[in-house]
Symmetry: D4
Subunit: 165 residues, 8 copies
């Protein structure tokens, strides 16, 4: 773990790691420093509160939190910090992430959670959103994001060339 | 507020009070001591944590928690205490309590919340469930519950007598 | 079957046993006596009513009921007894437990069912909730629950140490 | 109550009467004898069981049962009788009858409930379905149903003549 | 096909046959004559209308109709006949039968469809419901249903004896 | 009614007229001839079938069908004709049009219904879609649609000028 | 790509191709010229806008657009053209296409998308609907559609002959 | 309009203004410059694209976009810019914002939208989230957010003092 990390990627359980790794890969790609922690709003609430309350003074700028079911992690962290908190709803076993999504996004006035899509696409987008937030005051990162956007468009174009019907 | 209250009735916002009053009325009816507090998992997380961690040693035996939307209150309190926590999902403005229900009931293994129905029927039933829990070791209260059950059946019977078609 | 069991774990079908076993394991772990029965609100309603009406005088203190689809078992038992009844919504074949959840939790005012999460996490939590209810008047059991909670937090901490990215 | 009634119209609460009256009106129109009772699967389970077990020998041929929320009435009655049981899901306060519908229709193999639409259209159709069931062995009633069907088609035709754009 | 069949089991596609066979097995078991037909409300509407209009005069007493997705078959047949029509919502590929259920059960006032559970349990129950309807005027069949009900209860009891924990 | 109408606007009940009038207004605006009929898939199935089978030879080019609940009208008409059929899901009383939407859109392979949004916006769009379909081979109508699109954009621009904060 | 194609089949990702191929097969079968393109409303918005704005003048008469999740492709294209746009909601990973369906069909007044069923049946129906739209002014194509409809009915009939119980 | 605004608050229709004003009030409170625009992804797509493509170079740092139904506005803008885009799902007429929520949040990998709660609480939180994003590199604003958080907690505390039961 890196005290001077810009982004903290936290999750309710180590079983969320294969999905949340998508966020980590994006941060790596953009050269953004990060730390990864297992923190449960329910099973380790003290440690979660401690993390959230000291996040800003530890240099963290954005928190990405993944959780499933009654997914309280992002909201609980957002209650303890004024940093932007991005919530990734995990695809849950029975309700396929509808519970995770509603538990993450329907926050009361006063305490926002920036919610992204259910599962892996959401985790990847959480990484990109964190980069976009940091790029508000980082021109070099903004340039990287612009380049990434161009590559996305080109990869779509290229698929047309390769299209086999 | 009463330090020696047996049941704590807490809720995320004072706008939940008209609904949560149903729980209070039941506790009064059964002669169970109670305290009522506004505590928000998101807006007053420190106070919520303090309440939950000291609840057992303050003599509280059951917690009833009402919250709506991304309803984290019951789950967060359950994370900090080993007391039985009853969750009442409030009927929310847009999704009519489906969000509150899923946020309250879909707790991960290890941290249960005893969830009741959405809105006023749920609040009333939270009071009755608290009484049932206390009655496990309180014969007099168990007697009162039995009497209440008989009255319920009689009130249904009486409606048949009065039935106007 | 054990006449002096403190907790009855009942379920609508023997196909629910692999899931409901999670509840049984928790009760064993906490040294709580239990009995297990297949009882269907629809296929064996007479036996179910007999069970529910005599549960309290047979020494049972808490009932855990698992059922799926139009999951009436917990509610029907709650109609016949003043004991706390914990409902576990089974994950159903087509609607993935949404039907089981709503059939279990949306009880009318007067007759609560303490509903937990859909499927295996809910079954495990039903066992813990039963322990919490019994611990209201059992200091030794309350100590065990406190220890279990500490272990949960430690297991989360340990996962951080082991984290491989 | 009429011992020789052919159809029993039962409901969980007298607040369901304005909706269930639609079923009664249809039975009146077709000259089918009926009785109406308030019976709750949860608040008056003994009386409900007694009713259901003796329904066939009391001359009842079809049961219509309306209930809302965790709507167990139709299913519980169906558990105690081999008569056809028609379930009418009431429109519930928060979930608008989705809970009532799933609790009524998703019965396990072995115990059917003939479920109709949520609310007033369902209640009316419950009356017609009861008539259709009785008409299987009653030619005069079958004739009345045929006439009713013709009138329905004519009323649609007539609306075209009256159409004001 | 058998002109003098009492029950017609129809379905929108031959891919529904493995599920609808559950209904057929029940009819066989109770000694009820039946016919099976593939009839699509959308792909063979003329033949469907012809079937429905002549069903009563061909001696059919109850129609069981299985369909999935925008499941119109039961409703369309009910529009053309005054016989009781039982609708079985098939489990659909993407929405898991929620679409089939709502398309089958939410019929407008005037034209009921007796809807049973989604998929195989519903198909089996459609067969039992057809037997219950015929048993209204058939004492021998009513006896068989009573016996079947007793066997159901006994099979549950027996499972308790065999229970291995 | 106008034999040479290009578009038929049909609906299951005259209570749908206030909503379906939105479609009619659009057709008027674009100078497209139309006829309006109340036709129920369930209450007047014969007349509906007759209408659908003769629609093409009566000169109709597009059918707009509005229905609610178990909304079968559009699908049933599509079963009888090869004309494009546009389905408008009415907002239903209890399920707010989710039932109407799924009953209209989830058609089986072979028989499409071109489904638009629930309620009034959908009805208006049904009129526009009918115009777009006719404009495939009608340059003058295509010009009108282009002009309408420009006006839409201008009306949005104008709102910016008028914006009061 | 073929400048003179009558139908453009576009999709958000090449992973949609196996499903969208169903539409292409239908167009081939009816001898309708087509082009296929990968175009993303989000990853290649410029190219998507260019395509949509020039579609009519490039001779395209109908657009079929398949997309999943927050499925904006059909709606975005419809914003830029007055051609009829058919939307195919892809079955998404977690929510099974409910998100895709609502994102495609719930368009605001002014900009319709002709939405078909989720997944492969919808893709096939999109091809048929495109043919129906072109057949409004193409008698030969209308004849082919009529023949196809007859074949559908015959294939259902044939299945009855082959029925093995 | 203000060229040097830090936050752009855009919405699909002026009917969204009463809700989106909640975001504006927060921005005012925190002294953040803003501009407000009506921009429709469907009715004014050209202007929307122009806005989104030039937003960064016009000095905008965060975009807040509110839309309902098939809510494409936030996603479409996010396709054209690398700025953080916050999506506010409007409460829609029939589906109460479930459609708006899924259309906004379920974005494909590559293009995130930071989604907040449905309706007014979401709009308010969009303003706070924008402030949190800007505060990543603005200590003074971070201080204001910290103060706001303290006030939130105090307002909850104060409600306890005022509590009338």
């Amino acid at each position: 773990m890196n005290k001077s990390a810009e982004v903290a990627v936290i999750m309710g359980s180590d079983s969320d790691l294969p999905v949340m790794r998508e966020a980590v890969e994006v941060l790596k790609k953009f050269g953004i420093s990060y730390e990864v922690k297992i923190l449960s709003a329910h099973r380790s609430p003290e440690e979660t509160a401690r993390f959230a309350k000291s996040a800003r003074k530890n240099g963290i700028k954005v928190v990405i939190a993944g959780a499933g079911g009654a997914a309280h992690l992002a909201g609980v962290v957002a209650g303890f910090t004024t940093l932007p908190v991005i919530g990734v709803p995990m695809e849950s076993a029975s309700l396929k992430g509808l519970d995770s999504l509603l538990s993450t996004v329907q926050m009361p006035a006063g305490i926002p959670v920036a919610t992204v899509a259910i599962g892996a696409p959401g985790a990847k987008n959480a990484g990109i959103l964190a980069a976009q937030i940091l790029a508000v005051s980082d021109e070099a990162l903004a340039e990287k994001l612009k380049k990434y956007k161009t590559e996305l468009a080109e990869s779509v174009s290229k698929k047309n060339t390769d299209l086999k019907l």
